[in-house]
Amino acid sequence: MAAKLTEYYNLAAKEFGLSGRIKLAMLTKIPSEKAGTAQDSPDNIRIFEQALKQLRTQGG
């Protein structure tokens, strides 16, 4: 289970709403459904970190 990746989706939704989730999926190329089953690997975490950072920079 990728609890960490799912957490990123929750953060995106909290900070930027539904569009934040969609943009996060677009940037990471991993939709939330797949993020729930994907590994919390260092690579995946790095991708999500960068995507969230980009969202914050763009203001959602």
């Binding site: 999926a25 677009m26 939709p31 939330s32 459904e33």
Partner: protein
């Protein structure tokens, strides 16, 4: 590697190949030209000089016969004697000069033999001339001294001319062999390079077209909203790979949107 880089490299490869081929062709033309120039400037000219000396020697013998036939007249004697010695000098100096320039050892030896025989013949002609003039133009007595004596030098010089002609023919044949070898080498090298370059180009274009086809299939499914089980497996460092990567983002966003819509509807 990016497609643009591949295309630029391919273009540079084609241009380089043609420049190299043109340079090689130019160098080959120069070599062939230099070979024929050397042939014309030396061996052909020597063969031509030999033919001139051969004719001069025949004219010298003819002048001797004119002396015997018409030398009873003082004016004719003076004229044909002068012409005889002119031809004699031409033959001797020409043969000596030719012997000093020919490369073929056999030919040089024949020329040296001819020069020696010609000197002996000159002495015999002089003795016969003295008899002719001293015995009231007795051409029979004079002719008896030199009769048939011009045959050995004539035969020797015929051999010289034949030998020089054979040398020219051999050199031309050798030159033709060199040209044929260079031509075959150029054909093999240029053919191989062109085939190699063509193969690389074909493989590159085929690879690009295959990946573009896969990209189009993904795009068609996205356009038709057919995302169920859709996998965007197009990657790579080139433009198609980058486009495929963008497609993955779009696909993920559509999936997320679909999921959110489903959750909202439930």
């Amino acid at each position: 590697m990016k497609i643009s880089t591949k295309l630029i490299l391919f273009f540079c490869g084609v241009v380089t190949l043609f420049v190299l081929l043109a340079s090689a062709l130019l160098a080959q033309t120069r070599t062939v030209s230099a070979g024929y120039a050397a042939l014309l400037g030396q061996q052909v000219r020597q063969a031509e000089t030999a033919r001139v000396i051969q004719v001069s020697f025949k004219k010298q013998v003819q002048e001797w016969k004119d002396i015997l036939l018409r030398g009873h007249t003082p004016a004719d004697l003076e004229r044909y004697t002068r012409q005889f010695h002119d031809e004699e000098t031409t033959v001797r100096s020409g043969a000596v000069e030719l012997a000093g320039t020919v490369v073929d050892a056999k030919c040089r030896e024949l020329l040296e033999q001819f020069v020696a025989a010609h000197k002996t013949l000159s002495e015999q002609y002089q003795a016969a001339y003295d008899v002719y003039v001293g015995n009231h133009f007795d051409f029979k007595a004079a002719d008896k001294i030199v009769r048939g004596k011009d045959r050995p030098p004539t035969d020797l010089f015929d051999k010289v001319v034949r030998q020089l002609n054979d040398d020219v023919a051999a050199s031309v044949a050798a030159q033709e062999r060199v040209v044929a070898r260079s031509r075959n080498l150029a054909l093999i090298v240029s053919g191989s390079l062109l085939a190699g370059l063509g193969l690389v180009g074909l493989v590159t274009v085929r690879n690009i077209l295959q990946r573009l086809g896969r990209l189009k299939a993904v795009s068609d499914r996205l356009a038709a909203a057919d995302i169920e089980g859709l996998a965007v497996d197009i990657s790579g460092p080139d433009e198609i790979g980058q486009f495929g990567d963008s497609m993955k983002g779009v696909h993920a966003a559509i999936e997320e949107l679909t999921q959110l819509a489903s959750a909202a509807a439930a």
